[in-house]
């Protein structure tokens, strides 16, 4: 269940990044196709590596739950302060601006 939610969140973020970068990618493909191919090869290489990441995890002896827990923790660590300090900043602005 945790893995499914994490996968969904990751897919969502990746898709959002793809949407944002789609115009730039289109320009690079049309203007500098070789650079685009080189960068695509990098992505392909990373994908190839990631196909064997399960094997590495298996030899580490960690369970899937432990891996999910670690990823969830870092997700929390990167998002919770952002939300907290954003709210804090908004409250500070409100206190300054209120009559």
């Amino acid at each position: 269940m945790i893995s499914a939610i994490l996968q969904g969140i990751m897919s969502l973020i990746i898709s959002l990044v793809s949407i944002v970068l789609a115009p730039i990618d289109a320009i690079i493909v049309s203007v500098l196709p070789d650079i685009s191919n080189a960068m695509s090869q990098f992505g392909t290489f990373m994908n190839y590596i990631s196909t064997h990441i399960g094997w590495v995890v298996s030899f580490s002896g960690l369970s899937a739950n432990a891996i999910s827990l670690i990823v969830m923790f870092y997700g929390f660590k990167l998002t919770a302060p952002l939300l907290f300090y954003t709210v804090k900043l908004a409250l500070k602005w409100y206190n300054r601006l209120k009559p």
Partner: protein, 348 residues
Amino acid sequence: MKKLLWIVKSILYIITTSIFLLRILSVNALAVDNYQFFPSPTEQTLINEIETNAPSRHQIPLPTSAWYYSSNVNASYLSNAHNQSTYLNVISQNFFFQNTIDSFNLQKNKEYHLTLYIGVKQNYNPLTSIIVNTTSSGITTTGSYYKKVEPRLNPVGHINEYRYDIYFKTNNNISQSDTIYISMKFNPTSLFQSGLMFNLYRTYNIEEVVENNNQELIGAVNDVDDSIKNQTDLIKDTDSSQAINSAGGFFEGFTTDTYGLTSVITAPLVMINNLVSSNCVAIPLELIGYDFSLPCIDSLIPSAFSPLLTIYRVATDAIIGYWVMVNILALVKGFKDPEKDNIEVLEL
């Protein structure tokens, strides 16, 4: 000497306790025996069958000659109440008498429920057994059974009325001219004390047990049963794969581009995604013309040692869980620092 005395006292204590317990058990058993005439296993099966398969019954009207009294009662008192004049002689202790019911046309292979009321002027159960039979042995039960005894004050007053429920089933031998014998055995110590006869009357009611053949109702009940069974199976089902698929399915449909700048920037995210989702797959290798594969750890460890791997994983899960909890606590406590407002980001 003291030790010997202690042993003797212990033995006496054990014997006394055992006798006391046995006495309690035997008294209870006797008490039940005094007030219940247990059916044979065959009769019990019949009773269960009737009670299970007969949710509804219809009543056959009572004949007018249903009331009987002992001969030595205040006949005028009872006749005022019941307006009957038929008497039953109860003349000796432990009397086992028979009476007949010939007003019913019992059908073959039918189930019947006989309700018998007996009233006496004493506050105890007078009856020890009831046997129902016919002249041609057209009833499958050789004995009968009363499942509940409820003394209640008769409207006449001063008479305790006991109810007995008797179930019997007719067979192919029964004929229209058959006479039903209802034989009752009374408790001698309760009914005929000091040679005196107590007021006694009885009445009965025979109703045919009719099976409910309403197929529509049975079908509806079966549907409800199936529904409850399905719900129970669903609750007990530990397979949560469908729920996981549903949860993941919410995010399906997002396309990812693996080319250009997007692939570079999203590579760490893809790596994290695969870290969470990927399963172990053996890595195939080819060296000097031979095919090798790097197997997963689960297939390397013999099954005899797999519990050790499980223990190791439980231990590492616990350590990682503890580490995560401690760090989350430190993170939350860090929010209280007014000077700290830096935000960490994932460096892609």
